[in-house]
Amino acid sequence: MCMRRYVLRRLLQFVPVLLGATFLIYAMMWALPGDPLAGRCGDRACPQSYVDRMTEAYNLSDPLVVQYVKYMAGVFTGDLGTTFAGVPVADELLSRLPLTAQLAGLAIVFEIILGVTAGVLAALRPGGLLDSAILVSTLIVVAIPMFVLALLGQSFFGVELGWFPVTSDGSLLSLILPAVVLGSVSVAVVARVMRSSMIASLQADHVRTAQAKGLAPRRVVVAHGVRNSLIPVTTLVGADLGVLLGGTVVVEMIFNINGIGDLLLRSVGDGEIGTVTATVTMLVLAFLIINLVVDLLYPLLDPRIRHE
């Protein structure tokens, strides 16, 4: 009963955020600059045919709210408009989705495995040598911007050592290095949260009881420490997806991956604001929906939430 109310409340909170965020993007894109078509054709004024086509395709003669409603009606029926080349944006996005999904998926797997392991190891002996090493290295990774890490990784592991392809050919192997770069910042954050959360849960009374009754140290750490500490990490991975989605733009650019980030950057360069709007809208929808799913999974991980 309580569980159903929790789910319902989350869903009710989700709808206004979804509409608000997509409207915000739409409004910033089409209404903020005054004339959204000004300066889209380099130094010259745009040809009338371009203006007419854009006005027609995006209902630019309607009031902003009407434009937005018509646009979102299209989004929910799978119509995202067409690119300048005449390809439906939805098709373009779908054909690029697998690469970006693989890239992000690999990054998340890497982030969780390495982040959780590092956090647990650091928490076993707080203040020890390993702990200090992990704290310092996470600090450094957080401080280096992702595009610098990508360039470093590319020139060191790709060019110098030749372990990985320098640019991607779409194969899973060629996505490993980009995914490691993409997940690196989050690895550091996950490791830090895992560490402090582990330290806190290992000091809890029931853990001391478990130790006192003679439970094997390994089981104490796994059953009482790791399981409880995974809860904050789950939320973190969801919230950090925003960094990841922004990061795909940079990583796909540097490693030459034909994913959604690459499409976004290309459309920005070519002034295809329709495609930019569609791509950003879809990325934000993905971000919001995945966070909603994480929120809904939360009570399964932490029974306390159900009785809130």
């Binding site: 206004p16 955020v17 608000g20 604001i273 990325l283």
Partner: protein
């Protein structure tokens, strides 16, 4: 904040070794931004294509970039753009987010509901993607004056960046306004403004300060990223992100063009992260064991 409390925080800050490391790095950077002439006498705009991509040596410590400009001079002069964007964006974000968070936390009820829902909406858009949208809406090119290009980047970061500080501030204000002395002040007839200024804000501002210090570094990284992908700062402005972006295609042949600006950029961000860490520890010292 009372004088004794402020004194205690300074004392605790003084005990952090990372504080001194960060302070020294940031002082040098600030000097670089204010008076680049102290570090280099070479004009960053004095370029000669004959020297294009020439490596370090012979008077040019960092070598030359693609246009044959002295890279050392350009790296020194690049500090200004990064610090200006970082500091201005953080200031605006703290003012807007802090203001909204305070209003929401202090007045509660429907004000809180409205502000919190607006915060949720902006929070739903990842910073880099949102900033990209704003910059596409207001494109800059080589003819745009430098202050306008910089202003647009600051604006783009501010529009999307204020939500975290609003959430932190709201939670702090809710906690601070529950105190007995706030009730006492109110019953003595103090107005909202007086209560906020004298009792609530001084007690609520600390976590925001620690966050804001790290945020300067984060925003500098965001600016560099936007400039790197070509929609942030634009060429007449000397900036680390622009410099690295132009060098990207030559990562194999001329790594020096990437290494030096990247190192300056990373050390700058690191300094702000370290300072933020020290500030946080000074404000919330770890409890002694056994309590």
């Amino acid at each position: 904040m009372s004088d004794t409390r402020r004194g205690r925080i300074w004392t605790r800050l003084g005990r952090q070794p990372t504080f001194y490391v960060a302070a020294v790095i940031l002082s040098v950077l600030a000097l670089m931004a204010l008076a680049p002439g102290l570090f280099t006498s070479t004009d960053p705009m004095d370029c000669d294509l004959a020297f294009s991509r020439v490596g370090p040596g012979d008077g040019a410590y960092f070598g030359y970039n693609l246009q044959g400009c002295d890279l050392y001079s350009r790296t020194i002069h690049g500090a200004r753009a990064s610090l200006v964007v970082g500091v201005f964006a953080t200031t605006l974000v703290v003012l807007i987010g802090g203001g909204l968070g305070t209003v929401a936390g202090y007045f509660g009820s429907w004000v809180d509901a409205v502000v919190s829902r607006i915060t949720d909406v902006f929070f739903g858009i990842p910073l880099l993607l949102g900033a990209l949208v704003v910059l596409v809406a207001f494109p800059s090119d080589v003819t745009t004056p430098a202050w306008q290009t910089t202003g647009k980047v600051v604006l783009a970061i501010t529009v999307l960046g204020w939500t975290t500080v609003a959430r932190i501030m709201r939670a702090d204000v809710i906690e601070a306004k529950e105190a007995d002395y706030v009730d006492a002040a109110r019953s003595l007839g103090a107005g909202h403004w007086a209560i906020l200024r004298r009792h609530v804000l001084p007690n609520a501002i600390a976590p925001v300060l620690a966050w804001a210090t790290v945020a300067v570094g984060t925003f500098i990284a965001v600016e560099a990223t936007l400039s790197f992908i070509g929609i942030g700062l634009q060429p007449p402005v000397v900036s680390w992100g622009v410099e690295i972006g132009e060098a990207q295609a030559y990562v194999r042949q001329s790594p020096h063009m990437i290494v030096f600006p990247s190192a300056f950029l990373s050390v700058t961000v690191l300094a702000f992260v370290l300072l933020g860490d020290a500030v946080r520890r000074a404000l919330h010292p770890p409890r002694p064991k056994g309590r």
